[in-house]
Symmetry: C2
């Protein structure tokens, strides 16, 4: 039996994307976005309102990064989603977040988050959604496995629970199932 919840902007998983960009003076700011995902080959999308400081920064700088929030920094990730860079100019310092300029785009990499998708602004599309062209993905060596690839168990990415407004850690691997040779019942 099913229960109907009506019109709800819900999904599982929803990401915890930390979107960061420089303002015209080179000062970094960032925000937390749960509405987003891969848009197309080498493209990522985030739905961010016009009035955010980060939105204005992306328009001015033509670039942004998307950091993957991890369990170690859930407090910081949540804080930058609640506090506005328009009202708290030193929001990033308050959050204890530091940055390094990307070698690929004019946007800040937040050092504390272990994985970053570095993007050129492709456009704000017909619906005002921010579309980025991915020009590099980088990850801290501490989250790499023995194969040199990103290891999700080390990454400890978090997801947003839209029903309870909490965060959930990615857990154990469940195998790749049919492709892995497992049979349908």
């Amino acid at each position: 039996m099913r229960k109907d919840f009506g019109v709800k902007t819900w999904g599982y998983p929803m990401p915890v994307f930390i979107v960061a960009a420089y303002d015209k003076d080179g000062k970094p700011n960032c925000m937390n976005a749960a509405w987003g995902g891969i848009y197309d080959t080498n493209q990522i999308m985030v739905c961010i309102a016009d009035d955010h400081k980060t939105t204005q920064n992306i328009i001015e700088s033509g670039a942004f990064t998307v950091s993957i929030a991890d369990a170690k920094h859930v407090i910081e990730a949540d804080y930058v989603g609640i506090v506005s860079g328009n009202k708290v100019p030193d929001k990033m310092e308050k959050a204890g977040l530091t940055t390094t300029k990307s070698a690929f785009v004019n946007a800040p990499i937040i050092n504390e988050f272990p994985m970053t998708v570095e993007c050129k602004l492709l456009k704000f599309n017909e619906d005002g959604i921010c579309i980025g062209e991915i020009v590099n993905v980088s990850a801290d060596v501490s989250v790499l496995g023995e194969d040199g690839q990103i290891d999700p168990e080390k990454l400890q990415a978090i997801t947003y629970d839209p029903v309870h407004h909490t965060y959930i850690k990615l857990g154990e691997k469940v195998g790749n199932a049919f492709s892995d040779g497992k049979k349908l019942k």
Copy 2:
């Protein structure tokens, strides 16, 4: 220290959305989409290629559902992402998936998946991305908590690992951090 991976269509988490629609004869089909997410208030997006049977079905029927794949059905979820409905017309039967027509839109709810986002096709946007207007979210009562809401620990949603082409279960809650009264360091 960071490692650069270059241009990669990677994110964490990426969803395992099972997109389903009827063809013009009312026969359901479905596919697995990892490129998607919440697009805007009450809107969901999925990037699905033109040549998919499900894409054609969505265009013809004007509606679709997005099921949240769960750990119990990872084999089925993976199978419907690998096998094409154009080549295997009885793909859903082969996967052991059954459907019930949504009470809200002209699209099939897959009974085996515990949560479904029921959508009217709003449009394929300027980039060919499928945008749905969410008209209802439904969930099986077996995944509800005592508060009557969806309980992520019961839902056991899975996510796609684009690096290893495997699936990862959502795990434990990490609290809502700053909003929960926790302090920045």
